[in-house]
């Protein structure tokens, strides 16, 4: 990685090599939630830049890791509860709740979210859980689509993803045109943005394991979303996180659920293939 110094020469090489701080490794730890072992490390699928995929959980401090491991203490579980209430609540002109059609989410939604984003043949674009919720609200309930990041949207998304806790992430790129969205997402992932001129890969690939100020850089995996962020004392959706990371490069950032961010969701989710869904993960 550091052979870039070759071009500098100047005998600086040796001095620099010794001055390099030790790489801060992710911890070697196992995550068990309610007796269920999570896959927080797994071999990468073919064509992946990494050999091993690591959950963001491995990069967090011990207290943060413990909070996620204990579902009684995990603050994100409050949103799961709230999501369960929304699931059962009638809304819209058709007098229906989600449960009217989907019954008990513990059965009907089990493992489902681990395979999102999927291809939406009607819209001819990828669909994620947030958009699937909106689709059912509008078409099947006569209710309005949620505004981005409203507490109800986050709670219901968290609730549905939580029904896949422990299920390995697996996106089926053979659906519809999903592969070309993956291609586009990959382009975006490696494109530098903003005045600071960083790509996603600058931080989450080239420097995963390093500290950037106080932040221990992870692989930027999506498997824990929505995540409970201690800093914000709130749930953070995946597109909110994407926007935040892009904003930090001092760039204009795309709208939630825009083509750019949907493509990025397809690609970034694929980068976590085989990791367990951890929703609601706890992060800093």
């Amino acid at each position: 990685m550091r052979n870039r110094y070759a071009i500098v020469g100047l005998g600086a090489l040796l001095a620099v090599a010794t001055a390099l701080p030790a790489a801060a490794e992710p911890v070697d730890d196992e995550l068990v939630i309610d007796g269920q072992a999570m896959t927080v490390r797994t071999a990468a699928p073919e064509g992946h830049p990494f050999d091993e995929l690591l959950s963001g959980w491995l990069f967090r401090e011990a207290e943060t890791r413990e909070l996620e491991a204990d579902s009684f203490q995990n603050p994100g579980m409050l949103y799961v509860d709230r999501g369960a209430d929304i699931w059962n609540a009638v809304d819209g002109t058709m007098g229906k709740s989600c449960a009217s059609c989907h019954d008990d989410a513990a059965d009907t939604m089990k493992g489902i979210a681990a395979n999102y984003p999927k291809w939406d043949a009607d819209a001819k674009r990828p669909i994620n859980i947030e958009l699937q919720i909106d689709k059912c609200r509008v078409e099947n309930m006569g209710a309005e689509a949620y505004k981005f990041d409203t507490p109800d949207q986050k709670a219901l998304t968290t609730y549905i993803k939580h029904q896949s806790l422990g299920t390995p992430v697996a996106v089926d790129l053979s659906q519809g045109d999903l592969q070309s969205w993956w291609d586009r997402g990959k382009d975006i992932y490696y494109t530098r943005t903003g005045q600071l001129n960083f790509a996603c890969a600058s931080c989450h690939e080239a420097n995963s394991g390093q500290y950037i100020r106080a932040d221990h850089l992870s692989q930027g995996q999506a498997n824990g979303f929505p995540t409970y962020r201690l800093k914000q004392a709130d749930m953070v959706s995946l597109h909110n996180r994407f926007r935040g990371c892009i904003r930090d490069t001092r760039a204009e950032f795309p709208k939630a659920f825009s083509d750019e961010l949907m493509a990025l969701e397809v690609y970034v989710t694929w980068r976590g293939t085989g990791l367990s869904v951890e929703t609601p993960a706890v992060r800093q």
Binding site: L10, A12, Q195, L196, A199, N207, I212, R250, A251, E252
Partner: protein
């Protein structure tokens, strides 16, 4: 009388142009042998001011990526780049100026270190920052002067 007025107008004219005539614009910086020989402002930098630029999150925020033993009191030193200790021994000021002005000119396209006085930036730059560099020419000189003091 007439002569005095003429001088006054001339002075005003000079101070009115926002980028001082003796300041090198980002696109005019000359990189030779991985170095930028001339001060970007024609003046030496101030190491004390440069020290602030180095740690200020809104300015250089160099500490985000570099540990620096001279700043033990500051929390959270990043590890993305090499430690700054002894950088003043490893590099001549002209080389430091090149690295800090536009690290890509020295380390190649792949480096993650931002170009602090360069307009070769990423896409979709935040609207209010278009055409602007991260640091001013004076701040570059100040931080160059500061890093040059980091000797072991």
């Amino acid at each position: 009388m007439i002569r005095v007025t003429a001088i006054v107008t001339a002075v005003l004219a000079v101070t009115a142009t926002s980028a001082p005539a003796d300041e090198t614009a980002p696109q005019d910086v000359k990189f030779e042998d991985l170095a930028v020989a001339a001060s970007l402002t024609g003046k030496p930098g101030d190491p004390a001011a440069g020290r602030d630029v180095f740690k200020d999150r809104k300015l250089g925020n160099c500490l985000a990526c570099h540990t620096n033993a001279d700043m033990q009191k500051e929390l959270f030193h990043g590890t993305v780049g090499p430690a700054m200790d002894g950088a003043g021994d490893r590099w001549e000021p002209a080389q430091l100026r090149a690295i800090i002005t536009d690290a890509k000119q020295v380390f190649g396209e792949q480096t993650v270190m931002p170009g602090f006085y360069s307009l070769a930036v990423g896409k979709d730059v935040r609207e209010d920052l278009v055409g602007k560099t991260i640091l001013t020419a004076q701040q570059i000189e100040d931080v160059v002067a500061y890093v040059a003091t980091l000797k072991e």
